[in-house]
């Protein structure tokens, strides 16, 4: 589904990504693992268009997307979450989710004044879906709370719910479990499985090896921006380079 080929990225003389190539299979959960600073979040940034100066090729279903502005990449069906749960702080939780809905895309001033009813409807539909999602995970009472007043765990929940709001087929989750206590991890795990069940493809960055082993079908290992190994978790775990990389850090 996603083909990443020969990606090179340098910043200020430092080589951040080094001739990186891997493939993401549709409908599976792929783990992207590696020690801290290996470049995992950077890979996300390159693929989702937040970094535009990498060389190489990234193809989504045979379509070149490297260098496209990030909002266009999103519209082609890619969505990502952020490691530190970047919710929009001074607006409500409900609005946070509505902003992620494809229903409100292309809102324009023309529509505001000449197609108000349609806009109303789209917004209401998005709000409806948002409320359902919030209810499902049990934080419906936080709908109108400003996102900055949420707990860390709740922000991470909202971060994943945004993925559900979007219609993205390829989803990049950047450490969705980090910093959470076991109760929350269970909830988020459930949500990740739901994403798969609904036909989406998931790429997961995570440090918790147990979770990676449990959840992922396929694993790509990175260190210093280079791919060390790729394959099933059990195979990769035995790989000498991989072991060294983790021991060395």
């Amino acid at each position: 589904m996603l083909k990443v080929h020969n990606i090179n990225l340098s910043l200020g003389g430092l080589k951040i990504l080094n001739d990186l190539s891997f493939e993401i299979e549709e409908g599976k959960i792929t783990g992207l693992i590696g020690p801290n600073g290996a470049g995992k979040s950077t890979v996300f940034n390159v693929v989702t268009g937040l970094i535009s100066f990498a060389t190489g090729s990234v193809q989504l279903r045979k379509q070149d997307i490297l260098g496209a502005p990030s909002y266009q990449v999103s519209r082609m069906g890619i969505m990502r979450t952020f490691q530190d749960a970047q919710v929009l702080p001074q607006i409500s939780v409900l609005e946070n989710l509505i902003s992620a809905s494809p229903l409100i895309r292309d809102a324009s001033l023309f529509q505001v004044f000449f197609r108000p009813k349609m806009m109303e409807r789209m917004k209401a539909e998005a709000a409806e879906k948002a409320r359902e999602l919030l209810k499902k995970v049990g934080i419906e009472e936080k709908s109108n709370v400003l996102a900055q007043d949420l707990s860390y765990g709740q922000s991470k929940l909202v971060e994943i719910l945004k993925v559900f709001m979007s219609d993205a087929e390829l989803v990049f989750l950047d450490e969705p479990f980090s910093g959470l206590y076991p109760e929350m991890i269970k909830v988020i795990k459930g949500l990740v499985y739901e994403l798969i069940e609904s036909g989406r493809t998931v790429v997961l960055v995570e440090h918790n090896m147990k979770l990676i082993e449990e959840v992922c079908d396929h694993v790509v290992v990175l260190d210093f921006g280079t791919k060390l190994a790729e394959g099933k978790f059990e195979e990769v775990r035995e790989n000498k380079d991989v072991v060294n990389a983790y021991l060395g850090h």
Binding site: L50, I51, S52, P69, S70
Partner: protein
């Protein structure tokens, strides 16, 4: 060629102003817009001492700079530090510094009046010099000499003293300063002292050319800001170069377009740099969102 020379002279004043501003920014990470107006107060004190007590120019500059330092430290202790402790964002602190700028500038207007007051080296008219077909006035010579002197002293300070090294380190790497064993608070205080001193001296020298009036508070900090941006925030050498470039560009601009467009040239240069190479010539910080 004369234009180039004039530009270099003015540029050296801008360069010094820019360095003080840049050092403060790289240490505390917010823009202190009151930077220029404390220099203006220093110049007014200089004038006062020269006119009322016939204090010789160099001593008066120094005393004026001391006053600026008092203003600078005062503003830090009374306004910026409390705001920083409250975790105000850099933008909020900058806006507050702008409020301070307005207050101090208008107080200067109330106390000293709005007319431009001229500053001169001494009572006698000093001759200029001619060389290589160019003419340099006594004022210009004084500015150039002072600028060079200040740069040399600054480099010595930054390279040879412990505090200087800490100041350089804090721009890049706060961990390193812990290694040097100096508290961050001490470094910040020193930077404010240094910055205020540099701004006052450069403003005093530049006043030889353009005099002083309250609205120069804004004028100075804007030139300092532009010099720092062109050269790259946080880089002393870069900012020095940035100031020189600014001075030369302005003088050429004035020559080609006329004196009224001087400020416009400065801002257009700023816009060009921000668009083409936002990190500045020798960069250390980015002011542009990554996209």
């Amino acid at each position: 060629m004369q234009i180039l020379l004039n530009g270099l002279i003015v540029g050296s004043a801008y360069a010094l102003m820019g360095v003080g501003f840049s050092l403060i920014y790289s240490t505390v990470r917010y823009f202190n817009l009151a930077y220029g107006v404390i220099a203006v107060w220093g110049v007014y004190v200089l004038l006062f001492l020269m006119e009322r007590f016939a204090v010789p120019f160099p001593i008066a500059v120094f005393l004026g700079a001391l006053v600026s330092i008092v203003f600078g430290l005062g503003s830090y202790v009374l306004l910026f530090r409390p705001m920083y402790r409250r975790k105000s964002s850099p933008l909020v602190i900058m806006v507050a510094s702008f409020g301070l700028l307005i207050i101090l500038q208008n107080f200067a207007s109330l106390v000293w009046g709005d007319t431009t007051k001229s500053v001169s080296l001494s009572d006698q008219i000093l001759k200029g010099y001619e060389f290589f077909g160019m003419f340099i006035t006594a004022n210009q010579l004084a500015i150039a000499v002072t600028a060079v002197l200040m740069v040399v002293l600054l480099e010595l300070f930054l390279q040879k003293t412990k505090i200087g090294m800490a100041i350089r380190a804090i721009g890049d790497n706060q961990e390193l300063t812990k290694v040097l064993g100096i508290k961050t608070e001490t470094i910040i205080l020193w930077v404010y002292v240094l910055g205020s001193f540099l701004s006052a001296v450069s403003a005093s020298m530049y006043a030889l050319e353009i005099g002083v009036k309250p609205t120069y508070g804004v004028f100075f900090v804007i030139k300092a800001f532009i010099a720092a941006i062109i050269g790259g925030l946080g880089s002393v050498r870069g900012t020095l170069l940035g100031g020189l470039i600014l001075g030369i560009a302005e003088n050429f601009g004035v020559y080609v377009f006329g004196g009224q467009w001087q400020d416009t040239v400065a801002f257009v240069l700023l816009a060009v740099v921000l668009l083409w190479k936002p990190e500045g010539v020798f960069s250390k910080r980015r002011l542009v969102s990554i996209e």
